[in-house]
């Protein structure tokens, strides 16, 4: 063990602070630089749409299965989209076996919120036959390696998988009340918006970090996530407690997030087209 490793094990707080004083993080990044993102689509051949995303070491897989369901009476011409996030013990020592914990539920709710706020999908597009048949997209987002910034990675994975989904054509025989699915003829779904999330960790009144790793999140005192659309409008802001911030700091976050939107969407677009 080197002296640095010993220092990191026995005094993680002062070790981390010594980097921040020089405006750097232990992994060499500056305070506002982001980690490289890799996106691959179609990684799960048995799913109707899938993607694998890596943001630094954080690895998230999203698989989408489409099932036929009956629309609810209140919205007879709308389909469903059900995102679900799983955090298994394999991704980090923080998560245990059992029902979804707080972080998994919070992330699932976040994805639901972004999809409905940004109006990513027009749910009426998922309707096959009014009041009888509609598509239900079950989106399973699984994290297999947790190194911070789950919200950004989960949203990128979900958006990439949605753009990879191919729904088979369905023909409905009214007389016999039977639906038949033609797997050979498939159509992609049209997305109306492409939101991108950017997460920041607030370490103290004067120090904020962009795209935190797991170490940054443990050392910091709270995360702030801003989700922007391509035209720069704010789709969701998520700050569940944590260190107090001045409103003008939110300004800085939104400006930095704007730069990220274009980069991420180009990356996903490139992958989809290949």
């Amino acid at each position: 063990m080197t002296t640095m490793d010993i220092w990191k094990t026995f005094e993680p707080d002062t070790y981390y602070k010594s980097f921040l004083e020089k405006n750097k993080r232990p992994d060499g990044r500056g305070l506002m630089s982001v980690r490289p993102i890799t996106v691959k689509v179609g990684t799960i051949t048995t799913a109707d749409g899938s993607s694998t995303v890596r943001v630094g070491h954080t690895t998230v897989i999203c698989g989408i299965k489409a099932e036929i369901a009956t629309p609810v009476l209140r919205n007879p011409n709308q389909g469903f989209i059900v995102p679900n996030v799983e955090l298994y013990p394999c991704c980090s020592h923080m998560f245990k076996i059992g029902p979804p914990g707080e972080k998994a539920m919070a992330t699932s709710q976040f994805l639901k919120n972004v999809i409905s706020s940004a109006k990513v999908l027009d749910l009426t597009d998922l309707c096959i036959v009014h009041n009888k048949l509609a598509w239900c997209l079950y989106c399973d987002v699984v994290c297999i390696n947790y190194d911070g910034n789950l919200y950004d990675a989960a949203l990128i994975a979900l958006m990439a998988a949605l753009q990879n989904v191919k729904l088979p054509a369905v023909s409905y025989d009214e007389e016999n009340d039977k639906a038949s699915v033609d797997i050979e003829r498939t159509l992609p779904i049209t997305l109306k918006a492409r939101p991108v999330a950017s997460t920041f960790t607030v370490y103290s009144d004067s120090i904020q970090l962009m795209d935190p790793t797991a170490e940054d999140e443990t050392q910091g005192s709270g995360e702030v996530t801003v989700v922007l659309l391509e035209n720069g409008s704010l789709c969701t802001t998520h700050k569940p407690g944590g260190q107090l911030i001045l409103p003008n700091i939110l300004d800085t976050f939104v400006d930095l997030a704007k730069q990220r939107v274009h980069a991420v969407n180009t990356l996903i677009g490139k992958e989809i087209n290949e």
């Binding site: 707080e102 709710q109 706020s117 709270g222 409008s233 407690g241 939110l250």
Partner: protein, 221 residues
């Protein structure tokens, strides 16, 4: 033991402290037609698995008025927990646990802000040490561009976006933020400023409640 009403540029706020006789602190609080009952117990006994050597363990439990507790309620608990964690002086009570239980009595769209404010009043009633009180304000943006503070459920249905902010009592900095629906930057900051101003009224309301609680012509156990 008594009810106070706030001045009304906003919806009517009402509160009754020490509503539950067996809790360390409790508050029955309403904004307009949304009513929540918050109860605080602690710092007190903690399970071995939750014991921290240097702080108190916080737990928040939220029950909706109808139906089972599902993912929406769990995220609400998570938001309230992280908000409250920042404000309570947890390091003063190592190896203890503080429980906050919130029961939604009536829902008219403002579940988050009513629960947060009820929690703050219950904590004040229980005498739990905090850095400062905190106030939550919800606002929504109508399609015509007006910002309504503390809208009703009907107004929320018609709105394009809604935002809830929680501010601390000292400098009115942002403690928590939650937004649904799209807002462009200008509207977002307009909502933030309006909520900040409304938060001052909420904090004054807390002050009046606490002054009445400790006023000399009442006797308290």
């Amino acid at each position: 033991m008594h009810i106070c009403y706030s001045s009304s540029k906003m919806a009517k706020h009402a509160c009754q402290l020490n509503f539950l006789s067996r809790s360390d602190g409790s508050a029955l609080y309403s904004i307009g037609n949304t009513v929540a009952l918050a109860s605080v117990n602690g710092p007190g006994e903690v399970k071995k698995s939750n014991r921290h050597y240097n702080r108190s363990h916080l737990e928040v439990c939220y029950s909706p008025s109808t139906g089972q507790s599902m993912i929406g309620e769990r995220t609400l608990e998570s938001v309230i927990l992280h908000t409250v964690e920042q404000v309570i002086l947890v390091h003063l009570h190592p190896r203890t646990a503080t429980n906050v239980t919130i029961q939604e009595m009536q829902s008219d769209g403002l579940a988050l802000s009513t629960s947060v404010n009820a929690t703050c009043l219950a904590l004040l009633d229980a005498g739990v040490q905090m850095k400062s009180p905190f106030a939550a304000v919800t606002c929504c943006l109508t399609p015509s561009g007006t910002i309504i503070i503390e809208p009703t459920e009907a107004e929320l249905k018609e709105s394009e976006a809604l935002a809830t902010f929680v501010f601390d009592g000292q400098a009115l900095n942002v403690l928590s933020a939650h937004q649904e629906g799209c807002l462009d930057s200008e509207n977002f900051y307009a909502c933030l400023r309006k909520c900040q101003t409304a938060a001052k009224d909420v904090l004054n309301f807390y002050r009046r409640i606490m002054e009445e609680k400790y006023s000399s012509d009442k006797s308290y156990n």
